[in-house]
Symmetry: C2
Subunit: 337 residues, 2 copies
């Protein structure tokens, strides 16, 4: 909460020659304050280093100034990046960012949410995969009319902020990238099929294959589950099912790493014998050797924007725009230069 020492709205009011209510208005960007007074108040506040006391605000306004991120994703890099984007936005707006890892062992996501809401008040929620696709959770949130944002949801919601990338388009562009580099025998290494994103990426893969008129028999699908190990074992499958494959598109970086490690272990050279493109541009994609060509989505910015828009929604009580698409970029690295 509050600030430096013990400056209150009253000190500012006195010094600025206005009432405390006017100061309050200024700090809440409320209408009906003459620009001139606004400037004076802001000037005085800056000079004195005033920061509003959050607790008092919470108490008086019955808002919590808390935005909570609900997640259950084992990928801590991803979660951290979301948290960082959120934190940045919250910090700009005077909100608190908190994160809550849902524990599926404690019953459903829905139950975890209910437990949480019983104990804490939040002004807004941010859900990321796989929680962002749990319709039971979403129903509870909508029932309570809590503003919320969905990051990369499988199914966009009308009454929510949706931030996402074009998963199918991303799948296409990775596949095209491989094709343009002369690969004629391709493989897609899928993630968990229950994740909408994996299915959409795959759809893009097939679309690109078709469009490039690559014979179906020269393109395979290997199933994985997003884990490093599943990438590792997928390599054996690849050798068996499609030994001529030279270009691989893995639905995430971890599987790409697993597959590369397996390939190196069997004496294959990457990228000479086998080119691999991953997805997510995770820190490991950079750190590995060979480093991994990967499609980057601006997770930090997605979280930042959704938090900003969420706070806007909370303040105005109006959801202006519900869909925000972000563009992606293939980061060229060693595994498929």
């Amino acid at each position: 909460m509050s600030a430096n020492k013990k400056l209150t709205i009253e000190d500012i009011a006195k010094k600025a020659g206005v009432s405390i209510k006017t100061v309050s208005r200024v700090f809440n960007n409320a209408p009906n304050v003459r620009q001139q007074k606004r400037d004076i108040v802001l000037g005085v506040a800056r000079d004195l280093g005033y920061q509003p006391n959050i607790s008092a605000r919470q108490l008086a306004s019955k808002r919590s100034f808390v935005i909570s991120h609900f997640h259950d994703n084992p990928n801590t890099d991803y979660v951290s990046e979301i948290y960082e984007g959120m934190r940045r936005a919250c910090s700009e707006e005077g909100y608190y960012a908190v994160a809550e890892k849902l524990n599926p062992q404690k019953g459903s996501y829905r139950q975890s949410l209910l437990d949480y809401l019983l104990r804490f008040e939040v002004d807004g929620l941010i859900l990321s995969p796989p929680v962002s696709d749990d319709q039971a959770v979403i129903r509870e949130i909508e029932k309570r009319e809590i503003p919320y944002a969905l990051i990369s949801p499988g199914k966009k919601k009308k009454r929510a902020i949706n931030v996402f990338i074009d998963e199918k388009g991303a799948g296409r562009s990775i596949t095209d990238y491989l094709i343009n580099r002369g690969h004629e025998n391709l493989a897609f290494l899928s993630g968990l099929n229950s994740h909408a994103a994996s299915r959409q990426r795959e759809a893009g893969y097939w679309e690109a294959i078709e469009e490039a008129q690559i014979p179906k028999k020269n393109a395979v699908r290997l199933s994985g589950d997003f884990s490093m190990r599943s990438g590792f074992t997928a390599f054996d499958m690849l050798v068996k099912k499609a030994p001529k494959t030279t270009g691989i598109f893995a639905a995430n970086d971890e599987m790409a790493i697993g597959l590369i490690v397996a390939a190196l272990g069997k004496g294959k050279k990457v990228p000479e014998d086998l080119s691999v493109v991953g997805f997510d541009d995770s820190p490991f994609a950079r750190a590995m050797w060979p480093s991994i060509t990967s499609l980057a989505q601006p997770v930090d910015e997605m979280a930042h924007l959704s938090t900003k828009k969420l706070i806007g929604w909370i303040h105005s009580n109006i959801l202006e725009q519900s869909r925000f698409e972000f563009s992606t970029k293939i980061i060229e690295r060693g595994s498929c230069p």
Copy 2:
């Protein structure tokens, strides 16, 4: 961030036939309340599902009920585990857990801290490496008399909660583990030398070597920087400097992975030709193939305990015990069975 609906201390007081102050005392575990009344109040509160309103508490008591974790560690798994332990403890005690990644680009850690404290009030701080070794930061905290905890500090502080493992002992036990498995040519792959932990682990390594009377020429030190890539390049150095080495102790898992990947790429077999033990028991140690034998420290518990003790300190204003040592365990896996 209050509760369920709109129950206040007054509702409880009325129903229990006492004054609001007594209810307040009960909820703060304050002394001088007859046990009988205490039970009545707690009973009523439970029946009605009352939760105290945190904002009002904050405002009236001038406490913030916020514990903040200051960190700057690129290992998001580690940071997340700390956050989770903290969050659990905070949740049990009705506190908020927040995390702040310090940005060294914005000047010193000290400056980041000052900026933060100017904007937010916290009741306690938790520092983890490398921030837990920044004496300038610690000085500022002590100057303000904010209770704080250090996780794995290089230098324990008298007026703080210190939670740690025996780094040197851990280094010894990993080295002994390798020696007991018959390895006679060993290597230690160091982390950044500026990290006290790396130096201590190395000290344990040499102690074990000496005690086992292994000739100094059969034991080498390779320098790394905790990054995967440094593990990768360390392999070349190993081949050059000590090709007979069969047992390797890496100061963290990432370097162990890098080294293993390099070795596999050169046709070496792990663990047959080269056995590797890592440090941290990170998720990747489990996921890799071969999975990596690694020394696990109970990070979650360390964070949980330090948060609990910190809150105790905040409440009683007395620091009862300042040092808490945790024990570690080598998790046997494929890279050195």
